[in-house]
């Protein structure tokens, strides 16, 4: 399941501007073009920039912007009683940077609920090897099933094809189920890709049990939206009206 849609660039600029400011702190000559970060910041320093930006964004009310950007789409796909990942993530994929390669994986391998959806927001154009690849549902499920029985060695995942790499412009957003195999390869383009990602889950969808507290509501997720009618239902339960 993959869905690409257009979003409000002006609102998205909130995030872009914040990153530009952080890069300028490190190198005042930075011209503000995020896809050219690699000309201003060395590979050695990029993770520090990423961490500073991550900390800065997460200290602000980023959920408000995300609400404005994608509520409609997310409500359509998951319903309106939603939880959102507690922290929004930031990726910076500079050309030839081997340290940022994230091999093909499924989020459910690290105990994420398979019922969640991931909102992926590129802050630069994303294309070819600077982008993320997403394998198709059928292959992913087949592989996940096969690998779940393997105890000592992971089965080999087929190489992503050109068509598996997501091609998106700045101002577009992608929603996909991160249980599907996805990842990235060495960025062989001349452009850096900067993107944000954050996960959503319906309140009514199952989550891992206490064996994986890291992936539960309260720690991994926080409240995003609750319908008035759900709130009323909760009050009914809370007041012991239904025994």
């Amino acid at each position: 399941m993959k869905k690409i849609f257009s979003i409000n660039k002006k609102k998205l600029f909130f995030f872009k501007n914040l990153i530009i400011k952080e890069v300028k702190k490190k190198n005042p000559s930075f011209n503000g073009e995020l896809h050219k970060i690699h000309n201003f910041i060395s590979g050695k320093n990029i993770n520090l920039i990423r961490l500073n930006c991550f900390k800065k964004i997460n200290s602000l009310d980023w959920i408000k912007i995300i609400k404005e950007l994608c509520s409609e789409q997310m409500f359509y796909l998951l319903g309106q009683d939603l939880l959102i990942q507690s922290k929004i993530n930031l990726s910076i994929q500079m050309p030839k940077d081997r340290s940022s390669i994230l091999k093909a994986h499924s989020d459910c391998w690290s105990a994420d609920t398979p019922f969640q959806l991931n909102l992926w927001l590129p802050l630069t154009d994303a294309f070819s090897t600077n982008s993320m690849f997403i394998m198709d549902d059928i292959y992913s499920l087949k592989y996940l099933k096969k690998n779940s029985n393997s105890k000592y060695k992971n089965h080999k995942i087929k190489k992503p094809l050109k068509k598996n790499f997501i091609s998106m412009k700045y101002g577009q957003a992608l929603i996909f189920n991160p249980s599907v195999l996805h990842g990235n390869v060495l960025n062989q383009t001349k452009n850096t890709r900067v993107s944000l990602n954050v996960r959503f889950k319906s309140i009514f969808a199952p989550e891992p049990n206490i064996k994986n507290p890291d992936r539960k509501f309260g720690t991994y997720y926080k409240k995003f939206n609750i319908l008035e009618s759900t709130r009323f239902g909760l009050d009914i339960i809370e007041n012991g009206i239904i025994k």
Binding site: N58, P206, E207, I237
Partner: protein
């Protein structure tokens, strides 16, 4: 009490499925204190006894302004009455910091968060209950 002193509290027993060594909890909170410009005060460890919050309550007598812990689930979050009891004597000015969840609350907002959490948490089931529902559907 200096506004920049952050007192720290660590839990030697399991909380919400976590059982984190004290030294790791301490280092984690210390890192939070340093990156946020607080003066880290050495951690107070709770008693191992089940349900004990004796050392947590001790903080309320010291009129402190900042108290940090690894997670909000160090507190008995599923028991709102107990939460009210153990936080009762804390000053309204005291800010509780929960590093894992990136949350910062005064007493009133902390209790509101716990109240809201318990309401929503009741609606969320895990895979085990999901399997039970599936079994019911196929019967």
């Amino acid at each position: 009490m200096s506004e920049k002193n952050i007192y720290t509290y660590v839990m030697p027993r399991e909380f919400r499925g976590y059982n984190i060594p004290i030294s790791i909890q301490s280092q984690y909170i210390k890192n939070y204190a340093e990156t946020n410009g607080y003066k880290f005060m050495l951690p107070v460890t709770e008693l191992i006894n089940n349900q004990s919050y004796n050392n947590f309550i001790e903080f309320s007598k010291k009129n402190i302004l900042n108290l940090a812990m690894t997670s909000i689930f160090v507190l008995p979050v599923n028991d709102i009455i107990n939460c009210k009891k153990i936080t009762k004597k804390f000053s309204d000015k005291c800010i509780f910091h929960f590093v894992l969840e990136n949350l910062k609350f005064n007493k009133k907002d902390l209790l509101n968060w716990i109240f809201e959490f318990n309401k929503i948490d009741k609606l969320i089931y895990d895979y085990k209950s999901f399997n039970e529902i599936k079994i019911l559907q196929t019967k």
